[in-house]
Structures are given as structure tokens and as C-alpha cells.
Amino acid sequence: MYEGVSFVPLTWTDMLYLAPELALAAVFLIAVILDLLLPKAVNRQVIGWLSLAGILASLALVVIRMIDMNQGGVSAEAISLLANSYRIDDFSSLLKIVFLTGTALIVLLAIGSERDEGGIADKAEYFYLLLPALMGAMMMASSGNLVSLYIGLELLSLTSYVLVGLKRKSVLSAEAAFKYVVTGGISSAMVLFGMSYIYGITGSVDLGLISEALPQAMIDFKALAYVGFFFMLAGFGIKIAAAPFHAWAPDVYQGAPTPISAFLAVIAKGAALAAIFRMLYSIKLFNASGDPYMAKDIYFILLVLAASAMLIGTMTALGQKNAKRLLALSGVANAGYLLVPIGISITIVHSSNFSEFVFYLVAYLLMTIGAFAVVTVVSRAVGHEELKGFAGMYYRAPWTAAAMVIFILSLAGLPVSGGFFGKLFILLGAANAKAYWLVAIIVVSSVISYYFYFGLVRQMFMRSGNDDSEIRLSAATGIVIWVCAAGTLGLGLFPGPLMTWIDAVFSITGDLIMGR
């Protein structure tokens, strides 16, 4: 089987397809060099704006490519580069749009809150290190084989370890970085270990070839296949912070600079979920002819993981006193909701799992980044991130408090908000697949979550703080908060267009299951 290493040359056309990623890389290099050359007196926010410009340019390139691809037919043929190790298809393009938009908002948030993160010595890194992390996330969404998937994962992980520890003078930040390095390392090791088994039994790292070889491999090495898949799932489980693999999340989110917490909560989580989605559906597990039980087992385990993430996430959040830890645990529960569309089976009647997944990811992105933005505002005004700091927000910043109510309603899954419809679509999908136990758990965990989400509302509207002075927020932060609030409300009032659009461009057979 082993025939020596052969390199596939990268042609100019390939480079064109890779333009979004290359744009990010170029801007990253320019930012690094600029940071070295610019005199100390120059405010490093310049690099923040440069990074933002790079991200927006990359976003434009993705959108242009996507429009170009979807011009011809209903759903375009996927483009595979470098011997199918990198795929440009609607799956990856949609997720890249989500990641790029999210990171753009986060960079804007970082620019807005940069002044008060006094502990951060290397201000330029704060911005430009987000670019390779984002590139890693995009690679994970695009990867067509296990190796490029792993490279993307490592690129994302290694840069985020640094980002978490950026507040050098803060003990919490150092602790967070250390914890993240250790658990992240374990996660990568588990993913890699699982991948090696899959490679061992199928003889390939290419998802399409694995798919072909799997039925025979299942007959020969059933136990090894289980080990391979379950180790990979556990490794990704740590990355998406789904219970019981979530213990690191509260500490890391608390210690990291707030925009970085938002990045971990949204982009890192979304990328790992995308990787699971891509891997499981490309390998055609759901009709792996060799052994139907394994597919059932894997999907069932995903649903169990989802259920435990929802329940444990909401239960442990009940006792939290710190806003960022609270949001971390709410992120655990949300990882559970996002796992549901991946885990429920595709039937003749129901195969819109991906649109449910992306819709909720978008809603989750808006409400989580918005909530973290409000946390930056509050923590700057009161000097800490405890829930008590939200007291009297109604008097100090009524409009920000109103926006926070929108985010909280969305997080709690109450109408009229994007979170409500996101959860409803997931719920309907689960009910359509007759997974009624999961329906019950989704709904029950949402109700438990009312308790702590509305604890925040209580602080903001029903208590008064010691300080009544008005809170002023920077323009950049204000933009982030209101873009997120408007998006959340918009998705709550008109959820149809986004769902229809996703459905119009995406097709499971065309974009995910690799025809060979």
C-alpha cells in the first residue's frame, strides 16, 4: 500500500480557488512585519483595522466564489484540489461565511475593548493571531482528507493557545492558557490516534476512499473501526466543549481576554462541529453497507453526547456567579443543541439537517458574540465580570440592557429571536426522526436555563448597583452589539429566507457525499 511520498503540485488555478485563505495569510504576514517595523508610538489598533480589512476581503472572495459556483445549476459540482485533500463546495463556503463574519465581529469587538484590556502587552498579536486561527477553522471546513483536517485543527488550536494567554500580567489568563494547552493537546492526540486507526484499517486518509474501503474494513476489523471513530469523536468533543468533555471551558473562557472567549465559543466550536459533520457524512456512515449497527451506534453516541451536554451544561450553569463562566457553560449546552442535527438520522422525509445546523450556528454566533460584547462593556465599567456587576444596568445603559435582553431571550430559546427558531427547527427535525426522548431533553434543558439567564435580567432590571453613572461604550463595541441584536431579532421575525437560501445552495449529495 505504501508507495512513497508523492507531492501534488499546486497550480495557479488552485491558487485562485484558495484565494480567501491566501488573502488571510498575506494580511497576516504584512501585519507581523508591520508590527516589527512600526515605531512604538503608533497605536497598534491600526493592525486591528488591517486585520478587519483582510477578513472582509477574504469574505468577499468566498462570496464571489460561491456566486460563481452556483451560477450554473441548482447546486454546483464541488471543486476538489490537491488530490481531493481540499474541497471548495457549498458546505465549506457557507461555513466559511459564518466563520469570517463571526471573526470580523470579534475583531471589531477587540478593537472596541482594546483600551481597557490593560494586561495585554502585545497588542498587535491580539489582532493578527486571529487570522491564522481563522484560517485553521476554514481549512477544517474545507478538508477532504484526514491530514488536512488535522493540520487545520492544529493551526486553529496552536494560535488560540497563545491568544488565551495574552494577558500576561493576569494569573487567571496564564492558568487558562496552561489548561487549554493541556486539554487541547489531549484532544489533538485523541483525534490523531483515532485517525491513525481509520487509516490503518482502510489504507487511506481520503474521506472518499475511506468510505469505499470501510464496508470491507468493518468485516475485518470491527473493533478497530469503533476505536478509531470514538477516539476522534472524543477528541472533537473536547474541542466543542460538549459534556463530559467540557471541564476546561469555564476556566479558559474566564481567563482569556473576552473577545478571545467569544472566538473560542463560536469559531473554534463551529469548526470542530463542521469537521464532525463533514467526516461522518462523507464517509457515508448512514448507509455503510458492511455493518448497519456501527452507524447507528455512532449516531446514537452523538445524540447521547448532545443530551449530556445540554443537561450538564445547564445544570452546572445554575450555580455560576461569573458572567464569562456562565456563557462558557451556556456554550456547552449550545454545543449539545448543535450536535442534534448531526446525530439525527437522514430519512426520505427529512434531510435538512445541515440547514438546521447552520441556522442555529448563525443564531448562536449572533447571540453569543453579542452577549460577550455586553460583558466587555460591563466589566470595563465595574472592573470585574461577576454577575453582580450587571446590577442597575437599566439605569446606567438602558439601550445596552435592552440589547442584552434580546440576547438572553435568544439564548433561552424564547420568541421572538433567532435562538427560538433555531431550536424549533432542530426540535422539529428530532421529532420528525421520532427521537422524542431528545425532544424532551432539548425542551427541559431550555427551561432549566431560564433560571440563570433570567438571573442576569434580574440583576440588570430589578436591582440597583452602587454606581449610577452612565456607561459609555466605544463606537466599535456599539456596532457589534447592535449588529448582533438586529440579526437576532431579524432571524426571529423572518427565519424563512435564510433557511430557504441554505437549502437552495446546499445539497448533501453534491456537496458532502463525495461521488467517486
Binding site: S351, S355, V416, L428, N432, V447
Partner: protein
């Protein structure tokens, strides 16, 4: 044809409070007077429109001409049409409608909201936020009674939950936060159970087939009409099938599942109603929320529970409801007696009224359990009548508390001397509550028990005992407040102001009107009872 059916009158009713909300948001923060006026005027709009609708109603064919329907959300389920099966969709509608069941409740909502807006003169802080949430709450309540789509109903139901949470938690009395929290969690659980039931219903009974030219769409619809049709006739969808469906049976609902769904709906709406073991949250709300909010809570929100139980529990699952009739009757009796006995033991007037609400809701359950036309009519009548009476009583409580600073029965007394008008209205409301003939309370109780007498005589005997108890506790409380020695510190109290007197007179007028001329309501309810409740009565023939 009337002018009403040419315009989207239901949408006007539903959205008019939101327009007022926008106006109030634009008003300057300190102008509390302007905001109060704006809020009162805003609440008058749906009141006038629904009154107009009500008078115009029985000339129409059961209100069908008012219906509005627009597709709101359409989610494709399987784009990869495998095996030649056509497209499956989820569809939620913006669908509004009225019938004889919802129209009286709609009118009640508009009326009590307007009166509560007048009663909000006692609100002393953060007027802008108060009236914003208040008008949002009104939209939610109107929407609950207007919605003809399961998810639209759910959304409005949740809007009332959120708005009430803020209204209780910010403007309530001392333990307001606990009351708000308990309200949120209890009702959250109720809504959650309801949502599970709705999701399952849409995924089974919501099935419909749409054929547009060549394209055949299989739709899981949230529309009440579709679900009602499928539940009434489980084979209805087969007739629409263009023989393409093959072996898929999209609508399979076993008896066990139907029973489970009915129990879920019973619990979900039972929490709201509230049925006996689920009532603790509403006691807290009654004592801790500000009076104008309690008027709405006791006058309308409790009725949403009964309405939901009737519309989704009874009308969709007549067979199951039938088999639970004795349980419902017993639950109703427990509510009636438990509420009455505990109301007798209370030292705090608001708690007397809270337990009295539990007791009166028991009569509604008894009317439902009767399973005949008279019983149903009685139950609906009792809903409206109790809505008016309890709103009036809490309006008076608000005015008394404003003057005396207490609602403890031991500290009050002799108010008839200093406040003759207020005491007179209180006595009248009390008499209506205990079921004096000529006032609305009597008709509701009488019809409910008359209906029940047909099927369960022994229960009616026990229920009559509860009604006697009602007289005891109401008179005890009312007499304690109005007669006896007048504490010195209350000597200089002034009687009700005009702004307080107007809503009292209006509510009392409606109570009198319904008591003397009940057919103004029963005729409208009749329209629906005949058509909508047919499946319920049909089950009696079968078993």
C-alpha cells in the same frame, strides 16, 4: 357583507397595541401623564374594534370571513428528492381567526386591558418601561386568542410569559422577584410540555398534501385547521394522496400516543389554569404583583389556560377527553372545595381572592367535564364572568391599598363610612362572585352545574357545598372590610377618584348586563358549541 370582512380587522386588533408601544417609546421619559394617556387610548382601540367585531359576528358564518392566512415560514425538509418522492415541507402560518369560543375571550381581553391601563394610575416608577411591557403583554394575550397556528399560539403565549415576568418583577411588592421567578419557572415548564406536544402534533397530525400543477408538496403544517381535520378523521389525508406516497405513512398516531399527548396538554394548561397541585405560583403572583397587573393575570391569563385546554385538549382529542371526564370532574371539585376552604382561612384579602380564583376555576373544569352543550356554555360563561369579577375585585383592592397601605383583613374595617362608593362596589363585586342571581357569576355556575347534573349527580351535590362556602368566605371578607369599627387612622380617607370609578362602573355594568341578559353571550358561544364541539358530543354516542 360588512365592511369588517374587507379589511384585516384581526391584524388591526392584534397590532394596535404595538403601535401605541412605539408612540410611548418616543415620548420623553419623565412625562408620565402623557404615557398613561397614550396607553389608555391605545388600549381603547382593540376594545372598540373587538366590540364592533362582536356585534357584527353572529350575522357571519361563524366568523369564517374574518380569517387571515399568510404563509410565514416554509422550511424544505428533503431537497434531495430520493425515490421520486416529492418535496416535504414544514409550514407555519400567520393565521388568525375567531369563533364563538375565542371572540368573547378576545373582547374580555380588550376590556380588562383597557380597565387595567386606567388602573395603572397607581404605578409610581419607570412608566415608559411599564407601559411598553403592558402593551406588549396585551398583544400577546390578544394573539393567544386569535392565533390559528400552533406555533403562532406558542409564540404569543411565551410573549405573555416574558412580559409578565418583567411586570411582576419590577413593579410588584416586597417579594416581587421571588414571585416573578416562580411564575417564570412554573409557566416555563408548562410551556415546555406544551411545546413538546405541539411539535409531535405537527409532525403527525399536521400532515397535508398540496398539489400545485405537477408539483406535489407534502406539508407538515402548524395550522390548527389541518390538525383539527386530521384528528377528527385520521384517514382524511389519504383522500388527497395522488398515490405517490408508497409505503410511507406520515400520520400514525396510536391510542397510547394520543393519551400521552392529551395528558401533556392537560398538565401544560393545568399549570396555567391552575389545577390544584400546580397552583402555588399563582398565589405569589396575586399577592406580590401590582394591582393592575393582577387584574390582567387573574382576569385573562388564567383564562388562557382554560381556553388552551378546550381548544387543543378537548377539541383535538375528544375521545381522550371523554375518557378523562371523571378525573376532570374530580379535579374540578377539588379545586372548588380546596379553594373555598382555604379562602375562608386567609387573613389577607388578596389571598382570599387568589384562593377564590382557584375555586372558581374549579367550576370551569366541572363545566368542561359535563361533556354537553350546557356544561360547555356554562364553563365559557364562567370564564368571562370570573374574568370581569376578579378584575373588578383587584381593581378595588388596588384602590384600598393605595389609601390604607394594607390588605390585611384584621387591620381593615368600617370603610363604608369613609368610602361609601368603593365599599358599595366591593359589596356588589362580592355578591357577583358568590353567585347572586341577576349578576354574571350566577349564570356561569348554574349552567356548569346544570350540565354536570346530567352525567354526575353526586358530584353536583358536593359542588353545591362549595358554592355555599363561597358565600361564607366572600361575605366574611367583604363585611370585615366595609363594616365594623373604622380605625381612626382611616377616618380621613377619600373615596374613589373619577379615574378609578370609571373602570369600576364599566366592569360592574358588564357584570350586570351578563347577569340580566345572558343570551348576549350564550348566543355567540352557541354558534361554536354546535359546530366545534360536535366531535366531543359524538363520542357520547360511541361510548
Amino acid at each position: 357583507m360588512s365592511i369588517l370582512s374587507d379589511i384585516p380587522i384581526l391584524s388591526f386588533i392584534l397590532l394596535s397595541p404595538l403601535l401605541g408601544l412605539l408612540v410611548i417609546l418616543l415620548l420623553p421619559k419623565q412625562r408620565s401623564g402623557w404615557m398613561k394617556t397614550a396607553a389608555v387610548i391605545t388600549t381603547l382601540v382593540p376594545l372598540i374594534l373587538s366590540l364592533w367585531l362582536y356585534t357584527d359576528f353572529d350575522k357571519q358564518q361563524g366568523g369564517a370571513s374574518f380569517e387571515e392566512q399568510h404563509t410565514w415560514v416554509e422550511v424544505p425538509l428533503n431537497k434531495e428528492s430520493q425515490n421520486g418522492v416529492s418535496e416535504f415541507l414544514f409550514q407555519f402560518q400567520y393565521e388568525l381567526g375567531v369563533d364563538g369560543l375565542s371572540l368573547p375571550l378576545l373582547l374580555l381581553t380588550a376590556l380588562v386591558s383597557a380597565m387595567a391601563a386606567l388602573a395603572a394610575v397607581h404605578v409610581k416608577k419607570r412608566w415608559k418601561a411599564f407601559f411598553s411591557w403592558f402593551l406588549l403583554l396585551e398583544t400577546g394575550m390578544l394573539g393567544v386568542f386569535l392565533a390559528r397556528d400552533l406555533f403562532l399560539f406558542f409564540i404569543f403565549f411565551e410573549i405573555t410569559l416574558i412580559a409578565m415576568y418583567f411586570l411582576i418583577g419590577i413593579w410588584g411588592y416586597f417579594k416581587r422577584e421571588r414571585a416573578a421567578n416562580q411564575f417564570l419557572i412554573y409557566n416555563g415548564i408548562g410551556s415546555a410540555i406544551m411545546l413538546i406536544a405541539f411539535v409531535i402534533l405537527v409532525n403527525t397530525a399536521g400532515f397535508r398534501i398540496d398539489q400545485v400543477g405537477e408539483q406535489v408538496n407534502f406539508i407538515y403544517s402548524g395550522s390548527y385547521t389541518d390538525i383539527f381535520r386530521n384528528m377528527a378523521d385520521p384517514t382524511a389525508w389519504v383522500n388527497m394522496s395522488p398515490e405517490q406516497l408508497g409505503s410511507i405513512n406520515p400520520f400514525l398516531m396510536t391510542d397510547a400516543m394520543q393519551r400521552a399527548l392529551f395528558i401533556m396538554l392537560l398538565v401544560a394548561f393545568g399549570i396555567k389554569l391552575p389545577i390544584f397541585p400546580f397552583h402555588t405560583w399563582m398565589l405569589k403572583v396575586h399577592t406580590e404583583a401590582t394591582p393592575s397587573i393582577v387584574m390582567i393575570h387573574s382576569g385573562i391569563l388564567l383564562k388562557m389556560g382554560a381556553y388552551g385546554l378546550l381548544r387543543f385538549g378537548f377539541l383535538l382529542f375528544p375521545g381522550q377527553a371523554r375518557s378523562f371526564a371523571s378525573l376532570l370532574a374530580v379535579l374540578g371539585l377539588v379545586n372548588l372545595l380546596y379553594g373555598a376552604i382555604l379562602a375562608f382561612r386567609q387573613r389577607e384579602f388578596k389571598l382570599v381572592l387568589a384562593y377564590s380564583s382557584i375555586s372558581h376555576m374549579g367550576i370551569v373544569l366541572l363545566g368542561f367535564a359535563a361533556f354537553n352543550e350546557i356544561g360547555m356554555q356554562g364553563a365559557v360563561f364562567q370564564l368571562i364572568s370570573h374574568g370581569l369579577i376578579s378584575a373588578l375585585l383587584f381593581l378595588i383592592v388596588g384602590s384600598i391599598y393605595e389609601r390604607t397601605g394594607t390588605t390585611e383583613l384584621n387591620e381593615l374595617g368600617g370603610l363604608a363610612r369613609s368610602m361609601p362608593f368603593l365599599s358599595g362596589v366591593l359589596l356588589a363585586a362580592g355578591l357577583a362572585s358568590l353567585g347572586l342571581p341577576g349578576l354574571s357569576g350566577f349564570v356561569g355556575e348554574f349552567l356548569s352545574l346544570l350540565g354536570l347534573f346530567e352525567s354526575m349527580r353526586w358530584l353536583v351535590a358536593a359542588a353545591a357545598l362549595g358554592i355555599v362556602l363561597t358565600a361564607v368566605y366572600v361575605l366574611r371578607a367583604v363585611l370585615k372590610i366595609t363594616y365594623g369599627p373604622l380605625p381612626e387612622r382611616f377616618g380621613a380617607l377619600r373615596d374613589a377618584r373619577l379615574v378609578e370609578a370609571v373602570p369600576m362602573i364599566v366592569l360592574l355594568a358588564f357584570i350586570l348586563l351578563l347577569g340580566c341578559y345572558p343570551s348576549i353571550l350564550t348566543d355567540t358561544v352557541q354558534l361554536s358549541v354546535e359546530g366545534l364541539l360536535k366531535p366531543i358530543f359524538a363520542t357520547r354516542a360511541g361510548g
